[in-house]
Amino acid sequence: MNQAPFAVAAAEHDAPASAVRSGETVFEIRDLVKQYDTKTALSGVSFDVHAGEILGLLGPNGAGKSTTMKILTGFMSATSGSVRVAGTDLQSDPVRIRAMLGYLPESTPLYADMVVYDYLMYAGQMRGFSKQQCHKRIVEVAATVGLRDVIGMQIAQLSKGYKQRVGLAQALLHNPKILILDEPTSGLDPNQIVEIRNLIRELGKNHTVILSSHNLAEVRQVCDRIVIIHRGTVVADGTVDELEGQVAATHRLIVGIEAKSGVAETALAASLGQLDGVRKVTLSHSSQTPTQHWTFDLECSRDLRVALFQWAQSEGHTLLELRRKAQDLEGIFQSLTLQA
């Protein structure tokens, strides 16, 4: 992507960004707390974002991802805590820092009454660029995000996918060092999702990208690093490999048992819990037909399949099922976010 026409003008606006070098800390987020009346949206969120990485903010709906992003972009302030961007406190110079950011809010709000070209011209001029500079850049960005065919159309007439591209185009127009994308593929069809993901990966080569999502496949495919937020706190932070490695020490076993006559489910669970190496026993399924049997989800410190087989044999139970449960990103996410 040729970004030369904007380079001079952008340099004037992006003075703090010019200080950002690959690998350096772009965002230092410390102890963010956001309180809405009686509800606490964030309760001490801290993490760093490094230059050149694609960071995925992952979490279930209502976890605090969008609130975090709104604070990072300066849309709203945290009740307490601090955000430093390239070494500068966000609160001390918000306008200067906003010039470094490209932001795509959730649901891509756009002026539906405007023509795509006029809207991008407006966005460029709001960032202080001349009409000529904007025109050159619009042509480049339209090619990058695939907007050429609809550049003369009214935004209201565009499909959701094209609107998303318009939102991305305005975020990219000033060639920002940092892109913040809030659920960028939400509401798109599968083909559009693949296109936008590929585009984000491509953008990640030249920009620091923070994107939020509740889609595990998306963050796995697109992101270099993942921060999982749940109920307003960071519950995991690392690369996919690191996160999977963190739980590799924990073995999950699924055990289906038909108990011998007269043994209740609670007694069975207690008996399983007493086995050496079993950390946690959770009943995941119960069935009365054709005979009474239960399925337990065991969290163990080591692979206990042999020990479980021997235990069932010695206790007189029938083992219907015994398998290891894969501990992938989905498992990590579930184990972190489904806890009470």
Binding site: R98, Y122, M126
Partner: protein, 243 residues
């Protein structure tokens, strides 16, 4: 400054792209025109008035402006809040004050165009007599200042809500209140009204303009009202930080 002008241009385009501008403009021109002709000599025939003046326009136009201008300003920020575009706007490298000033400037463009269209009335009067051009100029300056004050009040109400209709109704009530109600209410309690309390009454400040007198105190008054409303709008916009 560039950002303010860019926002103003966008607002002007959006205003004239919506039917509200044409409805409000037409209502203003129609009602102000009718009042001009009916009011000029207390009869229904302008040509029997035998007076080359546009004073009736300045007597009635403020009433119409108090009604139509909140209809123009109601969407300025309420619509941005409702559609979510406010999130993008305030995360651009502009201050909240620049956003408010840009919006106000854009709405002032509509006001200026609408007032310019009424210039046909003094031009017509000039063809049949010799009106006091100083009085005409004074009246238009007063209408512009009064109109901007109404716009700033309407803009303020637009920052309070997501709902344009609510913004319109509150804006309308505020404009009518400052134009008339204070006068009526104050008369119930005070006779005569103390000068300090007259500060709340737009009509008292505007009357000099309608007579063709441009008093600097009146100019400062309307500019001050506008400035207070602009600052209040800016704070209202900033309230997202702590709400």
């Amino acid at each position: 400054m560039n950002s303010i002008w860019t926002i103003a241009k966008r607002e002007m385009a959006a205003t004239f792209d919506s039917p509200i501008a044409y409805i409000a403009g037409s209502v203003f021109l129609l009602v102000a025109g009718l009042m001009f002709f009916f009011g000029i000599a207390g009869s229904d025939d302008y040509f029997k008035g035998h007076e080359a003046t546009v004073r009736p326009l300045f007597d009635f136009a403020p009433w119409v402006l108090a009604v139509i201008l909140p209809a123009v300003t109601m969407r300025l920020l309420a619509e941005e809040k409702k559609s979510g575009t406010l999130e993008l706007l305030v995360t651009l490298p502009v201050t909240d004050l620049q956003i408010v000033l840009g919006k106000l400037l854009g709405a002032t463009g509509f006001l200026a165009v609408t007032l310019a269209l009424t210039l046909v009335l003094p031009i017509m009067v000039m063809n049949v007599g010799h009106p006091d051009l100083g009085a005409v100029a004074g009246g238009y300056v007063g209408l512009l200042l009064l109109g901007v004050a109404f716009l700033s009040l309407g803009l303020l109400t637009s920052t309070w809500t997501h709902n344009q209709i609510v913004a319109f109704i509150i804006g309308l009530l505020l404009c009518i209140f400052f134009w008339t109600a204070t006068d009526a209410i104050l008369h119930l309690v005070f006779e005569p009204i103390p000068p300090v309390l007259q500060l709340f009454n737009f009509q008292v400040q505007f009357n000099d303009f309608a007579r063709g007198v441009i008093d600097l105190r009146n100019v400062v008054y309307f500019l001050s009202v506008t400035a207070v409303a602009v600052v209040a709008s800016t704070y209202s916009l900033q309230s997202r930080h702590w709400n």
